[in-house]
Amino acid sequence: MNGPMPPGLGGNFIEQWAVQRRVIGALLMREMLTRYGRQNIGFLWLFVEPTIVTLLVAGIWTARGLNQFSDIPIVAFAITGYSAIQLWRNMSRRCINAIEPNQALLQHRPVKMLDIYLARMFLEIAGTTTSFFILSVVFSLFSEQISPPEDILKVVFAWFLLAWFSMGMSITLGALSELSSLVDKFWPPAIYILYPLSGAMFLVSSLPHGMKEIVLYIPLVHANEMLRDGFFGSHFVAHYDLSYLIGWCMGLCIVGLGISRLTVEHRLS
């Protein structure tokens, strides 16, 4: 019954990385089972849920005739916009107050606070990305409304940047929420303000001068513009600055990791 010594309690970088991958994998399975269980479609809900939400929103936007102002393909507009919203929204929500219910897990030496965030974020990324992928493929193949993405690589890269940005933001908010309960109070309303501001519901080129410059301070707008540039770039003039967006991604990651370090030391027990 005594197996080999549990490895990797300490050790070198490669060993630690192996431990971390294992722990994140274990946390992912635990999270999936806890959230979706084994009943009915089980963990398929992971992407079925965001898919349903995006479809509903796409339906509403189409019905409201948001495409009247230009020749922008409205379904593609909705799928890109709302998939992006779900990515950063769900990830940030899952990281806020993530540690307290899982505090006991930290008694297991291989489990680090960051692993809990990473597992939760990967799960959201997996669900939203699958949903985005399926919707894009299905609509490209079977709908008159959407032609296939014009530049698939750009779509993939923009999505990657969006996920990266969301990770930095979510770790930052998650770590801050352990320091102050105010984060949990202000973030839900902030999400509603960010919905329209994130660039999911407009194209920068359709905004009046003056407004353009202001919204381009918001990094999410750049990610959305790039995503749509890859999808249907020939229909509009995209506005984004790659270095500005990447700068934010790196900055938020550094800040987030810094604060979570601080949180580990100052966490109330």
């Binding site: 019954m1 197996g3 010594m5 274990a26 635990r30 006991a104 008694q107 297991h108 030496r109 109330l268």
Partner: protein
């Protein structure tokens, strides 16, 4: 070896900082059985959490050159919505062990029968404790952290878990926290008495217990 040097732990609270540990030194070598006693709130459980790595010290250092268990029979790391089997799988994954290989032992030792496939939230506290103890024993460590483990389970299970710990794992290092002085006297070779965030070391267990009793009387 586990070596603690000048370890302090401060928590932040609404009323300001609370200094729980005020400079603690401690060593535990391979195979040693070390007891920790002290009144409620002296900082024993905080110390155990720091040793297990669940929390980081405010200052000072903790060196570990042997693998250390989580606090034995500690069941609050379990996910209540998951079954006993799923919780075992989770722990095994974390520690890189094969759950299928550990299952027969946990099944037999925990005496849970079909309940192993029920969510833990419907378990009685005794069942939960049996599962937690069995899972703790399924993973192999050099040093076991034992924080008031004997407070759980019925007499029969207690006897069984004593056998599992002190007979089958007699060669392991152990750090034992208890209020039961007989238990400490029987199982420990050295003793630390915790008082107001400080540790006093006693080579002679009885001497330490006498000291502790004197403090409790005041």
């Amino acid at each position: 070896m586990i070596v603690l040097e000048q370890v302090t732990k401060r928590y932040h609270s609404i009323r300001g900082p609370i200094q729980v540990l005020k400079g603690v030194d401690m060593t535990v070598s391979m195979g040693e059985k070390v007891g920790i006693i002290g009144r409620n709130g002296a900082g024993k459980s905080t110390l155990i959490r720091l040793i297990s790595g669940g929390e980081k010290p405010t200052s000072g250092s903790i060196g570990r050159s042997m693998s250390i268990s989580w606090p034995i029979a500690f069941s609050s790391g379990f996910q209540a919505g998951l079954t006993g089997r799923d919780n075992l799988r989770f722990i095994c994954r974390i520690y890189g062990q094969d759950a299928a290989e550990k299952l027969p032992f946990v099944q037999e030792f925990s005496e849970l029968g079909d309940f192993l496939d029920q969510p833990i939230k419907i378990y009685s506290s005794g069942m939960r404790a049996r599962l937690a103890f069995a899972i703790s024993m399924a993973i192999d460590f050099d040093c076991l952290l034992i924080d008031e483990v004997m407070a759980v389970g019925d007499a029969k299970f207690n006897a069984k878990s004593k056998e599992e710990l002190f007979v089958k794992r007699a060669h392991k290092a152990m750090i034992i926290v208890s209020h039961n002085m007989n238990y400490i006297k029987t199982n420990c070779t050295r003793l630390y008495v915790m008082n107001d965030g400080r540790l006093e070391h006693f080579e002679d267990v009885s001497e330490g217990i006498a000291m502790h009793n004197k403090m409790m009387a005041n």
